[in-house]
């Protein structure tokens, strides 16, 4: 098995799925000749040709809209958007159309499209290049939202996303692209969407995270008896795994790098309050970014949840 970073693992998944299924096409700005701005589609033009690996004009709304049409007509388009912040221009196509074609056609056709995009902070770039606006998309019925936390998960989940009959937003934590290397099994099964992973077992507190926060949570929780859940899919999310863990530990800390208000943590907290209230020994804590746009460079350390901030919440919740 090869040791791959996330860039290579995503490239592998695309390669495998394009070889397996000729309905899969890639499109986006600079994905073909240039191999993508993060080099994720490197070599795919050479391998699969210009009919399947397509450089588009600079027009996000057009790219997503065209992909919707391709998907509705039986192709399996995989779109690359260069940064999550650039996807905002395509909101209308996603919210008004991709998410609703299935219901609007009363189930007669759907929209099996994947939008891949780098996401999240910590790369010392400014706003729009460090966005973590996953909750916006989780709010829309009809779209699935996936966030891998490492190379193997990225490969397995991307395969599942491409095979899924409905639109999937696939958020790739930019900070992790070249940070982690792990064994990525070529040819292995896809990972199921909607299924969380217990990253570490523990008894006293449940910590839920996803994407690049997972690595930070694992560091922060090392000295604690904490159960760490890597959510992997945010929509639909794995309620059963989270609830079972909270029922066992009686405590919950949610860590996300997105801003707090109406962040995905609020959804988790509300569900736990409704379903596992009597198992809770103390309040649910959220460790998040403050409700401000992503700042530049050095201030980012003050903005993103840090190991210290996560540990402070753990100490606090463990007092109950």
């Amino acid at each position: 098995m090869a040791q791959l970073n996330m860039v290579q693992a995503i490239n592998l998944a695309l390669r495998e799925e394009m070889a397996r299924d000729d309905r899969v096409v890639l499109l986006g700005e600079d994905v073909a000749a240039d191999g993508g701005v993060f080099r994720i589609s490197e070599g795919l033009l050479e391998r699969f040709g210009p009919e399947r690996v397509l450089d588009t004009p600079l027009a996000e709304s057009g790219i997503v809209g065209a992909a919707i049409g391709m998907a509705a007509y039986g192709l399996r388009p995989v779109v690359e958007i260069q940064f999550l912040g650039f996807l905002y221009a395509a909101f209308d196509q996603i919210f008004s159309h991709a998410a609703r074609l299935r219901t609007r056609s009363r189930g007669r056709f759907g929209c099996p499209l994947v939008i891949r995009t780098p996401y999240g902070g910590g790369i010392k770039a400014p706003e729009l290049h460090e966005e973590s606006s996953e909750a916006l998309f989780c709010h829309v019925p009809g779209i699935k939202v996936v966030v891998p936390s490492g190379p193997a998960a990225a490969r397995g989940l991307l395969l599942a996303a491409i095979r899924d009959p409905d639109p999937v937003l696939f958020l790739e934590p930019t900070r992790l692209y070249r940070m982690i290397r792990e064994e990525v099994p070529e040819g292995a099964d896809a990972l199921p969407l909607g299924k969380a992973r217990i990253a570490r077992e523990g008894g006293k507190v449940t910590v839920v995270a996803w994407g690049s926060m997972l690595e930070r949570v694992l560091t922060a929780t090392a000295p604690y008896d904490a159960e760490v859940i890597d959510l992997l899919t945010l929509s639909p999310w794995d309620e059963a795994t989270v609830l079972a863990s909270v029922r066992k530990t009686g405590r919950l800390v949610i860590v996300h790098e997105a801003v707090e208000s109406c962040g995905f943590g609020a959804e988790l907290a509300a569900t736990v309050a409704a379903e596992a209230m009597l198992s809770l020994r103390g309040p649910v804590f959220r460790v998040t970014a403050p409700d401000v746009p992503v700042p530049l460079a050095r201030l980012i350390d003050h903005y993103l949840p840090s190991v210290e901030r996560i540990q402070r919440s753990l100490d606090e919740v463990l007092q109950y």
Binding site: T56, P57, A125, R298, H302
Partner: protein
């Protein structure tokens, strides 16, 4: 180029244009060095090669005209009058930056200079230019809006929305396309069905022209004429300046999509030495003066770097400011 420079502008303004181009080049090259040293982080898009457009166009505008641009905009802010020290500090993320060190390279703003922003979202500035122009007309002001953008940006829907609207409502927007032939790695013929960008305005009944964007006087004259026309008629106009960026799209671009021979060919048309030759040839400046210009610019940029290095970081709590009043 038969027209004598002196018949277009007085000597001191010609020298001023040269000074500005040199300052921009020195500034951008210093940015590259500071990026390599790790003092500037994130994405850094340099303007080297395109100086004639910023310098020539800005010189043709009034001081209170609005300027709005994209993310390759340090020189545009500088020729507009932004203090290079505070621009450099912004790139470093320091508290003394022109946006308090919170925006960085792509988001320079200075309303005092009527510099209404760099926009990191390609095409983000077009509809905003429409609104600025509407407001100027509403207030019965003489101002126009100069909206700068690249060849890649013209395929965003916002470009077409902006042009149609500006013509329909007769708004004073001067569109300046800096066609450097590439949007990141995508060559203009691979992204635009009609790569002659100035011709695309015919769908909106907007007059337009193409100009040599490596020739500061050609840019100045075209923009001067166009800006006056826009001001007089309160109608949009588009200039396509043909230019070239000497460096990669950003500092992280290996630039595999273009041959080094192509880059070298364009470097022969470098707007700075070519303008220097004309200044010398027409006896407007001697070599000692030109040398002095470069030394002064280099010193000014060194001072900007020093200022940025020595400036404090923003306070941590600065992240909470300026979200709402």
């Amino acid at each position: 180029m038969d027209t004598k420079l002196r018949s277009i502008l007085p000597d001191h303004e010609l020298i001023r244009l040269y000074e500005q181009m040199v300052l921009c080049r020195e500034f951008e090259e210093a940015c590259a060095e500071q990026y390599t040293k790790g003092n500037i982080t994130g994405f850094l898009h340099l303007y080297s090669g395109q100086e004639a457009v910023a310098a020539g166009a800005t010189h043709a505008l009034h001081g209170d005209d609005y300027v709005i641009s994209a993310y390759r905009e340090h020189p545009q802010a500088i020729v507009r009058g932004a203090d290079p020290r505070r621009v450099m500090a912004e790139l470093f993320g320091k508290a003394t930056g022109i946006c308090k060190g919170k925006g960085g390279s792509m988001h320079l703003f200075d309303p005092n200079l009527h510099f209404m922003g760099g926009y990191a979202i390609v095409g983000g500035q077009f509809p905003i230019a429409t609104g600025l122009a509407f407001a100027a007309r509403y207030r019965r002001e003489e101002r126009i809006v100069a909206c700068f953008f690249g060849d890649g940006a013209v395929n965003q829907g916002t470009f077409h929305e902006g042009l149609n609207w500006a013509r329909l409502w007769e708004l004073p927007v001067l569109y300046v396309c800096e066609n450097n032939f590439y949007g990141i790695g995508t060559e203009v013929h691979r992204s635009s069905a009609l790569a002659d960008i100035h011709k695309r305005t015919c769908g909106y009944d907007i007059p337009s022209e193409r100009v040599d964007g490596m020739d500061v006087m050609a840019v100045y004259q075209a923009v001067k004429h166009a800006a006056e026309w826009v001001r007089e008629h309160s109608r949009p106009y588009l200039i396509e300046a043909i230019t070239y960026r000497f460096r990669g799209h950003s500092m992280s671009d290996p630039g595999k999509y273009r041959a080094s021979a192509e880059v070298e060919l364009w470097k022969e048309r470098d707007p700075i030495p070519n303008f220097a030759k004309r200044l010398l040839g027409e006896g407007i400046a001697g070599q000692p003066l030109l040398d002095k210009v470069r030394e002064t610019a280099a010193a000014q940029v060194a001072e900007a770097v020093k200022f940025a290095e020595e400036s404090p970081w923003p306070d941590d709590d600065e992240v909470f400011n300026d979200v709402y009043v």
